[in-house]
Amino acid sequence: MNAVDQELQILLVEDNPDDAELTMDALRASGLVNKAQWVKDGAEALDVLFGNGAAAECHRLRLILLDLRLPRVDGVEVLRAVRADERTRRLPVVVLTSSREESDVVRTYDLGVNSYLVKPVESEEFMKVVGELGLYWMLLNKLPGETR
């Protein structure tokens, strides 16, 4: 592809280290792992996104993979902050969660989430879902400004 290949493009927000390892495995299998950074809670995610002024990473990102139940700042709060900031209000956010609760689906869609996926328990299925969603959002999906 091009020179930005090695850059951070995916932010994985996941508090469970086992889930994070399996997610990174799946991204690795799709050749996307070196574009991904893992943060362990919502506060850390907001730090990476908007934290240090000029060093804020949000302009480099193409995708946020967001767990919902997180310590400190939860996923819904992160989503709200992302949608409220001019720099990230169009950034694709995919919820990747264990929750099948209708209320979580509705709440996150109301806040403008781009996709809602329930993490499969079965690991081949998990690898497939995460791998495919990574490839879809990184290679197929067009962001504003990319269609010209």
């Binding site: 086992d18 889930d19 399996l22 264990s98 099948r100 328990v121 079965e122 690991s123």
Partner: protein, 273 residues
Amino acid sequence: MFSAARDVTERKKTEDALLALKNDLENRVHQRTAELEVANKELEAFSYSVSHDLRAPLRAIDGFSRKVVVGYGDKLDDEGRRQLQVVRDNAQRMGNLIDDLLAFSRMGRREIALQPLDMNAMVRGVADELRAAESQRAIEFAFLPLPRAWGDASMVRQVWVNLLANAVKFSRQRPVAHIEIGGSRESGEVRYWVKDDGAGFDMQYADKLFGVFQRLHRQDEFEGTGVGLAIAQRILHRHNGRIWGEGKPDAGATFRFALPQPSAEKQLSGGPE
């Protein structure tokens, strides 16, 4: 005169007592309702944490077992790999149990949206889906005309899904499975049945058919968690309906359910049958 005055006093006393009783009952209803609302909220919080917190460790059990197979499979012999597969199969099974338990609890608290239901179209749609999922099997469905019903579309559809899926599953030893679907209007109810020529069951255990996680077949005969009929029964109870079944080992099973007859007005607004 004197006795009439006494009657009035007596009546006043009775009226006061009745009023006190009525107030007391109302207070109790309010209190019970409040308690039930709290219990419902707790149940919701509980099933939320079940869905979230119990799935995560299962995913780790399955995911890391898989990592061992992929990463260290060459260091394991066949028996070692088989044992890891047992671990994975059981993680998956527990995942299914959790999902089904949640589906069951959800059916109890979901709002019901009543509407007229074209049961003929509904059951054919369900049968088509099941047939597509079992395309390698020979299944003959016989559809008799079904009366229109009044109920929650997605919940009643779930009843058909569960009954038909059972009929398909338990008839799979037949070279050609026969499944008949029929209905009738009887004594103020609309009734429906699903009849198969599959493995059947012993009527001795009929009282266990609708219990959660109750199964009448071994896991190595027919897979499943034992929640499908419990969900069907819960849906029908919420519609003031009922469900029952009859069977005979190796001679098939018939499941019947009944819903209250839609009123004439509802029939009309539901259009032609």
